[in-house]
């Protein structure tokens, strides 16, 4: 594989990993609130979280581009903060990806929290376990599968990001050129050999990863009927 592609691969993985990690730290409280709140505000917040799902990535990219532009106040503030414009920088990509992948992390978590029910939590509370202990000892182990799914979807979706990156990434090798863009370029430039290598490699890698994860999940299921 040519070194530019390897670089793109590395940028992509770095981006996906950082995004996923940040999201998996930020999202559980939000997902919990969404799963259990009876507030009238909830549908509003749910809608905002789901928005990146519904909006074309280009819409998001467009607004991000405007937000990042130092011509406007937000972008100027960013520039003051980070020392450089966020557009066409790796940091900017991370922010964009986090917004874009947010619903993919929040929704599996929320659905896991909803469906684990409240029975075991009530039991834990009457044993004297506070909020954090309940989360650590009961919620997390009971919804491990949802956490895994959330991380996987978040990672995957960031890997596959295209529209947002195309608009705010700028295709800078080693910094913001991710594989989806590199591949697009190969294909449009009719460099099919390179395209085949990159796409085929990704396909094989993704498939292997997925088979591994799902196989692991299935085994655990078999052993306990639960995990």
């Amino acid at each position: 594989m040519p070194s530019a592609d390897l670089e793109a691969l590395w940028v992509t993985f770095k981006l996906a990993a950082i995004t996923t990690l940040s999201l998996i730290l930020v999202c559980p409280p939000l997902a919990w609130w969404l799963a259990h709140s009876r507030s009238r505000l909830r549908p509003m917040v749910e809608a905002i979280v789901a928005l990146p799902l519904v909006l074309p990535p280009t819409v998001l990219g467009f607004y991000l581009l405007l937000a990042f532009s130092p011509q406007y106040s937000v972008g100027a503030m960013f520039e003051g903060l980070f020392g450089h414009s966020l557009a066409f920088s790796f940091a900017g990509l991370v922010i964009g990806s986090m917004i874009y992948s947010l619903p993919f992390v929040v929704q599996p978590l929320q659905s896991g929290f909803v469906t684990m029910g409240t029975g075991e939590l009530e039991a834990a509370a009457t044993l004297g376990m506070g909020r954090w202990k309940r989360f650590h000892y009961v919620v997390f182990p009971m919804t491990k599968r949802s956490f895994l799914l959330a991380a996987m979807l978040g990672f995957a979706h960031t890997l596959g990001e295209f529209g947002v990156v195309l608009m705010i990434g700028g295709n800078i090798p080693g910094e913001t050129q991710v594989i989806s863009i590199a591949l697009f370029e190969h294909v449009e430039a009719l460099a099919y050999d390179q395209a085949h290598m990159l796409a085929g490699g990704l396909l094989a890698l993704s498939m292997a990863l997925l088979v591994f994860i799902y196989g692991f999940l299935q085994q655990n299921e078999r052993r306990w009927g639960y995990w």
Binding site: S69, P70, Q71, S85, N171, I172, G174, E188, A189, A191
Partner: protein, 228 residues
């Protein structure tokens, strides 16, 4: 009737003006899809249903001709493009480009002829190593322009026609001399799979008659075209 035209990004704005007139005069409808020349070429390769293809170079139309995907004899040069160095502050010139330190927007050299031209210029000025990691590449020349215009990048190599149509103050750009890069000889072809080749040819001829409009827009008109 309806014509589907694939047009190189740099020419999209100009074509839409021409098409407006054409529609008004003939009553036919022109639908425009714009993109980088290379991207459009790829789409045509895979069966995209266009009638007319206005490229930003002569290379792709030649390839299509060799592949016998065009109406024989339809390939013509309709314009010659000009590259410009746009810098949002200061006085753009060859020196200021040579000393540029920050991010610089160009079009993707592999897909867009204007990007290839930009690369030629940077090579000639010996800037390629210096600007490594600072070249923000748009997938076509429109996106490149937009990167600079939105203020996210402070300078870029774009098409003169874009700056003209946006009425940018000529003090803010420097028109790169023709010989700094391979000529941007923009050719057009009528595609063989076209359902209405006569109409496509009609539009192409109509376009070739709008020389005033093209020169005003920032293109040179080739002798070849002038002859016809």
């Amino acid at each position: 009737d309806e014509l589907k035209v694939a047009v190189a990004a740099n020419f999209a704005h100009t074509l839409s003006k021409v098409a407006e007139r054409f529609e008004a005069e003939t009553g036919h409808r022109v639908r425009i899809s714009s993109g980088a020349t290379g991207a459009l070429y790829t789409q045509i390769q895979h069966g995209a249903p266009f009638d007319l293809f206005l490229a930003a170079d002569s290379h792709r139309p030649q390839l299509l001709e060799q592949e016998q995907k065009i109406l024989p004899g339809s390939r013509v040069t309709y314009a010659i493009g000009q590259l410009a160095y746009w810098q949002r502050s200061g006085e753009p010139s060859e020196q200021s480009l040579a000393q540029w330190q920050a991010k610089l927007a160009i079009a993707n050299p592999r897909l867009a002829p204007y990007g290839a031209a930009a690369r030629d210029v940077l090579g000639r000025l010996g800037l390629v190593p210096k600007l490594k990691g600072k070249l923000v590449t748009g997938s076509n020349i429109l996106q490149t322009y937009q990167y600079v215009d939105s203020g996210n990048v402070q300078a870029g190599l774009v098409a003169l026609s874009q700056l003209r149509s946006a009425e940018v103050d000529p003090h803010h750009y420097w028109v790169v001399p023709d010989h700094y890069h391979a000529p941007l000889e923009q050719q057009a072809v009528v595609l063989r799979r076209s359902t209405n080749p006569q109409l496509a040819q009609q539009l192409l001829d109509y376009l070739n008659r709008q020389q005033r409009l093209l020169t005003d827009a920032g293109y040179q008109v080739s002798a070849h075209v002038a002859q016809r």
